[in-house]
Amino acid sequence: MMDLKKNIKLWSNLGMRATFGLIAMELEKKYPNLIITTADVSTSAGLDRFKSKHPDKYIDVGIAEQNLLGVSAGLSSEGFKVISTTFSPFQTLRCCEQIKVNLGYMKHKICMVGLASGLVLGNLGFTHCSIEDIGVLRSIPNIAIVVPSDPYELYKVLNQSIEYKDSVYIRLTAGPNTKIINKDEYEFEIGKAKEILPGNDVVIFSCGNIISNCLEAASVLKEKNIDCSVVNIHTIKPIDAEAILEKSKDKKLVITVEEHNIIGGLGSAVAEVLSEETLKCKLKRIGINDYYSSGGSYEYLKNIYGLSTEKIIQTILSNIN
């Protein structure tokens, strides 16, 4: 087994995308029939080394995402284990119907890695941000949606996704120097939420690297005698309804925090679970409030959409009483 502490540090420095490239090298050893398909993003996905070491297992179809999904499904139907990857908007919305028919309807299994999802590419504008991917994919049957919180979790997600029964959409957030959420070895299972921080007053459900802001907020609120639990809902589908109900029980406030439109994403998924039970608790969803703002840096956009640590604290304070 690898030196975990060292890897966690290295991977968080590199960020999710470069870590994906490193993990791909490991996966190739484990799965001889692995093929990685891309749409002209070898460097962006950290796959340059994989490409030069395993040219026979690397297929670049050019900037043509509809074809990417079709070719990937064709390979999958012939028994290959396929990971497809490109930037999140193009990996999801651009080829949405191919995902529906090939992965959802026909159930050809592919692991799709959506690069730089959420707001991290805010400087490039909303063509390259991805705040709709979860909502759109959530309505397609037979596809799991997983949002790793940090590169170490990505490692676990990728390994499990290849063995998972359905296709999996793996949504990568944040840039290089990703905040470390998981410092030590822990048990991970697709579909099973993970409480990172226990607390009695408020529960914060979140996913992706934005969890780091939730943890910071929880730590500041602790000093104000507000005890927040932070739960990592890394799997948006299938949603861990049991954990959501259990962790919401007896809380004064339930908060969801996501780098996604509050319509269709984690907040919606949590609301759906809570609204079908008689649980009495207030829910506040933090995320992109259904509009495209002016572009800018990651920090700038997080602040605009109420996702910065400071704004999360404010929202909790103004909703708790």
């Binding site: 026979d56 297929i59 179809v61 050019g62 043509a64 509809q66 074809n67 999904l69 079709g70 070719v71 990937s72 499904a73 064709g74 390979l75 999958s76 139907s77 012939e78 028994g79 290959f80 119907e97 191919q98 028919v101 090939n102 309807y105 026909m106």
Partner: protein, 268 residues
């Protein structure tokens, strides 16, 4: 190629198509586009594609992908002739819970490789299958049948670029060029100009032939190409084989009444 057998096979396909459409009654069926590919399907399934009921899952089988899925009656009919599908199952066409709907549903045991019908998707699937065959060192072929109207879809051109780039000489792509699409002539809806020139310019080995000429179909489909995919632009007549339907786009998706059925059955 046995010309007589092929002709019989094609006639039986046509009979099955109109029988099933007639049985479907008011549910309607895509008739015109199924009849235009009947001869292509007959040449493929009576002479070229090696598929048997007991070997539908054999990894060495040739793969046939009907990208213009709405023409599925021609495929179902051919599979009936190959005794892979039971003839009486055709009567379940488009009925509740049937495995034979108005567009093919993946069912490898019954010889249906993919669920198709959303146009412009079959060719990409075929490319994945063809690359897989090369990686596995298999010599089977991948046949993809598309419509000319289908070539309006941009994904077709993403795919053809890719098939040429990867030198997929184990692919045979047949375009059913019947010059008509759902609501009118190609030239009026979206002018395709020369499909043959388009495919040539991407680097395909492209042949334009009469899509109802068995011998030409057989020769062009089986002719070996090296390092590039083959595209056969098959000039066809929508509704071919039933004079009443030929080149009449009202029969793109329509109902065959009892009177019409009895009348046309005699003339096939």
């Amino acid at each position: 190629m046995n010309l007589k057998n092929t002709k019989n096979f094609a006639t039986n396909i046509r009979k099955n198509i109109i029988y099933t459409a007639y049985k479907a009654g008011s549910k309607s069926a895509h008739i015109g586009g199924a009849l235009s590919i009947a001869d292509i399907i007959a040449v493929l399934y009576s002479n070229i594609i090696k598929i048997k009921k007991t070997r539908t899952l054999d990894d060495k089988r040739d793969r046939f992908i009907l990208s213009k899925g709405h023409a599925c009656l021609a495929l179902y009919s051919a599979l009936v002739e190959k005794k892979i599908i039971k003839k009486k199952d055709l009567e379940t066409f488009e009925t509740d819970g049937s495995y034979l709907l108005g567009h093919p549903i993946i069912n490898k045991l019954s010889g249906i490789e993919f669920s198709t019908g959303s146009l412009g998707m079959g060719l990409s699937l075929g490319i994945g299958v063809a690359i897989a065959a090369k990686k596995k060192n298999r010599s089977h072929k991948v046949f993809v049948l598309m419509g000319d109207g289908e070539c309006n879809e941009g994904s077709v051109w993403e795919a053809i670029m890719c098939a040429c780039h990867f030198k997929l000489d184990n692919m045979v792509i047949i375009v059913d060029k019947n010059n008509l699409q759902q609501t009118g002539r190609n030239s009026e809806i979206m002018d395709l100009k020369s499909l043959t020139n388009k495919f040539k310019s991407f680097g395909c080995h492209t042949i334009e032939i009469d899509g109802h000429d068995y011998k030409k179909l057989f020769n062009s489909i089986t002719k070996k190409t090296l390092n590039r995919p083959k595209v056969i632009v098959a000039k066809t007549i929508k509704g071919k084989g039933i004079k009443l339907f030929e080149n009449d786009n009202n029969w793109h998706h329509s109902i065959i009444t009892k009177t019409i059925y009895k009348d046309i059955l005699k003339k096939i």
